[in-house]
Symmetry: C2
Subunit: 284 residues, 2 copies
């Protein structure tokens, strides 16, 4: 009989959990909001979804130490067993990946990359994963060769929550023309990024720049500056972009405007697929 | 007899108030923490420091509309009278300055610039004012010719409050060697700024980079990128830097390392001096 297990995607701001039987999803839950990655939080989340004793949980995210150093396969290092002090749950965390120079780390995205490669065997190229950090991961022959992380997403959330720019970042839409102008400007003058953010605020406050254009200018300026920094990653490479919300679409649009077509992948599906790969690696 | 008045420096995170008689300071107070710029807050602050009826308050900060467009003298536009609905206080706000292209605005720094010019008549050059926004103001023949604002300070506060980088930004000291390396790197590759921030976190987490060096890398990277963007402002110009806390010193150090010596001015004194100039302009 195929055993039940739980797949858990843990981030500081959101948890996604699947109750699995082999590769089949029996149940699914999302828990939003910040939560400490401690035993109590994990037990509360897992215990409510499954009555079995000692159900194995395969989790990715900032839970265990970072172990592997690139280049390596995304799941090469096995799993960390973390004792939560409760026999109802056995937690196995996918170790994150580290890079020595430039110093960099990921905890969670290695699992999404593994899921993408499981569904696209033999795929070589660069995967851009958006989120609190946006991360550009160079994949070749099944291995993560190198990567580079940018705090763009965290900066945007922080600006929205704690500064006058929050006024413009709440808008739903993004003006397409203003976005592509801002991407081009960000690409050609990336050093002006922090001035451009304030300038969008000034233009919206004083010159009647519409909200959707102000938002486009902020997002486009950030993404454009990131494209300037990651040119060696995306130029002439096969590209995939994944993440949640509207950001992946904006990255795909920004890349397309530079003549760099990118596939958009479903981050949630890739995460689950990566956790399945990790599960199968220890049960096969 | 010289009349009493109140000088008020209003920012979103801090208020500084002086009870004045002519140019003399009778009393002084600082009120920390966020506060809405409404009648109740201003009255609570002012009424507790002075018993007189109808005492005039000369204030700078984000209180009234932005009126003047550069080039202009920093206090050319007179004062806004703002009715607080209470006869005990007459509020006069120094209007902010706007710039059409690139769109930009300041509310408060025009007063500090006016104070600096009042104490240094005939001074031409560029004044860098640190704070939530760091602002580079080109001054010539007593006029603000152009300026450019960067969200560096607000980004730092947001990162400290809302991200994993807060762990390193709480440190007291800044490693001098790591700081000057980071400034140089920020200057030569400003597009990598958001990657450098995360890289400091990774190096401190995984490679034992000391806290003071991580902090230096974050601050130096930000300031270096800003120096790359403002090169036309500081290159070959007479320079002054002012602001609160340790940031002005770091900007002076960063500029000195580029062969651009800058004078450090006392921002609090310049603010008060600017408010005195505004008061004297309407009472002379």
């Amino acid at each position: 009989m195929t055993r039940d297990w739980i797949a858990l995607d843990w981030t500081t701001t959101r948890r996604r959990l699947w109750v699995m039987r082999g590769r089949d999803v029996l149940d699914e839950a999302v828990d939003d909001g910040p939560r400490p990655a401690d035993a109590a939080s994990i037990l509360a989340l897992v215990a409510g979804r499954h009555a079995g004793q000692g159900v194995p949980v395969i989790a990715c995210g900032p839970l265990g130490p970072v172990r592997d150093v690139v280049p390596c396969t995304p799941l090469s290092g096995g799993l960390w067993q973390i004792d939560l002090g409760d026999p109802r749950v056995v937690l196995n965390a996918v170790p994150g990946l580290a890079q020595a120079e430039p110093a960099d780390m990921m905890q969670g995205d290695e699992t999404r990359v593994a899921g993408f490669l499981a569904l696209n065997p033999g795929w070589d190229g660069v995967i851009c994963l958006t989120g609190d950090t946006s991360r550009w991961v160079h994949v070749s022959a099944g291995e993560v060769v190198s990567f580079r992380s940018f705090l763009s997403g965290a900066i945007l959330s922080s600006l929205a929550a704690g500064t006058v720019l929050g006024r413009w970042l709440g808008a739903a839409g993004v003006d397409a023309g203003a976005f592509s102008d801002a991407v081009a400007d960000g690409l050609s003058r990336p050093e002006q990024m922090l001035a451009r953010l304030w300038s969008a605020h000034a233009a919206a406050t004083l010159q009647g720049l519409p909200e959707e254009a102000a938002r486009a200018q902020i997002l486009g300026g950030l993404i454009g500056a990131e494209l300037a920094a990651t040119r060696p990653f995306w130029l002439g490479q096969q590209l995939a972009v994944m993440g949640e919300g509207q950001m992946p679409r904006l990255y795909v649009d920004a890349l397309a405007a530079q003549g760099a077509p990118a596939t958009q992948a479903d981050a949630t599906r890739m995460t689950r697929q990566g956790l399945i790969a990790a599960w199968e690696a220890i049960t096969a």
